[in-house]
């Protein structure tokens, strides 16, 4: 991996994700730190990335590397972990049943990825699908259910839906920009993760399978 990628590109990507991932845009703009559960999920995601050969920590931190190289590697690992926690926190709904089920599904998916996925490409693909689905759920499906209604009939239907579900589904209304910001953050995070240094044998294996 080149010095520019390790020292400049990856920290810039992950720190930007850490910043943008915490943006909560509604009536006022707030920067929200990741929840405790997001930190747990990020730990699982990081373990899955290491086991799946997406990132090789020994290519970032090793006794054979100089102190400066190890410092750059540590920055990449720490910023990637914070970005992972922040991106998971961002795509999880804020309250009610959607929060509970999204937490549960992400936990199951990440544990499954941790124990079963051993291939870099498959893991990156399943990570993209997982984050994309969560993004759609929160910023498209739930946002449309929670958006302020235009007509009286729509307002009445929303009120009935809210009453029927005991207010456990509807979320706080978000600004339209929130979804675009989330999409950009997820895309940036996936680019950053795909740029992380992989173990040498994984690269060889991928190259061989490509040749086949």
């Amino acid at each position: 991996m080149s010095a520019v990628r390790e020292a400049v590109v990856l920290p810039a990507i992950f720190l930007t994700v850490a910043l943008v991932g915490g943006l909560q845009i509604d009536a006022r703009v707030a920067l929200v730190p990741p929840s405790l559960f997001s930190l747990v999920l990020a730990t699982l995601l990081f373990a899955a990335l290491i086991r799946g050969g997406v990132v090789a920590p020994d290519r970032l931190l090793h006794s054979s590397r100089s102190a400066l190289q190890n410092a750059n590697g540590a920055v990449v690992l720490v910023s990637a972990f914070v970005a992972a926690a922040q991106i998971l926190s961002m795509v999880i709904p804020r309250s009610g049943l959607p929060l509970f089920f999204a937490d549960l599904f992400l936990l199951v998916l990440l544990v499954n990825a941790l124990v079963s996925v051993r291939d870099r490409v498959h893991l990156l693909r399943s990570l993209a699908v997982m984050l994309g689905s969560a993004l759609l759920l929160k910023f498209v499906l739930l946002a449309s259910l929670s958006a302020p209604a235009d007509s009286r009939t729509a307002r009445l239907l929303f009120a009935l839906f809210d009453a029927a579900t005991f207010g456990s589904i509807a979320q706080e209304a978000q600004a339209p920009a929130a979804g675009y910001v989330a999409f950009a953050a997820v895309a940036l995070f996936l680019i950053g993760v795909s740029l992380l240094p992989a173990p040498p044998q994984v690269r060889t294996h991928t190259a061989l399978s490509r040749r086949d």
Binding site: A3, A7, V8, L15, R28, V29, A71, V75, S79
Partner: protein, 167 residues
């Protein structure tokens, strides 16, 4: 020094500065671009309030034109980094919200939030304003007065309350 070492060194410093800036943004929760730029400027000691707008604010404040005073103070201190300006804004909420029979809790709550900001900005959290036009000179007293004004107790029904004066 090789080119790679320079790239790595610059990258490390840049990452640390960027991470510190992100940490500051999370801690201070700025709401406007002016607050962001003013915050960074005050960190390097390059922030100053607009004295002309501050003088305008004081003039409005002394004429009991509190809404106008707050607008001028906000213009003087767009980043909300000046302890003295924030003190006057909090005082304007106190004076506007004060009532002989009852206080306006919403204005007092805003005053309390602003005086907390002023205290946090003051060196060693001690803020004293020597203005003969004010009856409360320290941020701690103003904070206590705002808190007292928002507390509902039996003495609120004391008819002698109508004789108390605004500070």
């Amino acid at each position: 020094m090789t080119r790679e070492s320079i790239v790595r060194g610059v990258g490390l410093i840049g990452a640390v500065v960027y991470a510190a800036a992100i940490g500051w943004l999370y801690a201070s929760q700025p709401q406007t671009v002016a607050q962001v730029t003013g915050g960074f400027a005050s960190i390097v000691g390059a922030y100053s309030i607009d004295e002309q707008a501050f003088a305008d604010g004081l003039r409005f404040f002394n004429r009991d034109q509190f809404v106008e005073a707050r607008a001028a103070f906000a213009r003087a201190d767009p980043a909300e980094r000046g302890a003295r300006t924030q003190y006057y804004i909090a005082y304007s909420y106190y004076r506007q919200g004060w009532g002989r029979l009852h206080n306006d809790d919403a204005l007092f709550a805003k005053g309390l939030a602003t005086i907390d900001k002023a205290i946090a900005l003051a060196p060693r959290e001690r803020l004293v304003v020597d203005d003969p036009g004010l009856q409360i000179h320290s941020a701690d007293e103003l904070r206590a007065e705002l808190q007292r004004g928002m507390t509902h107790e039996l003495s609120d029904w004391n008819p002698l309350r109508v004789f108390r004066t605004r500070k």
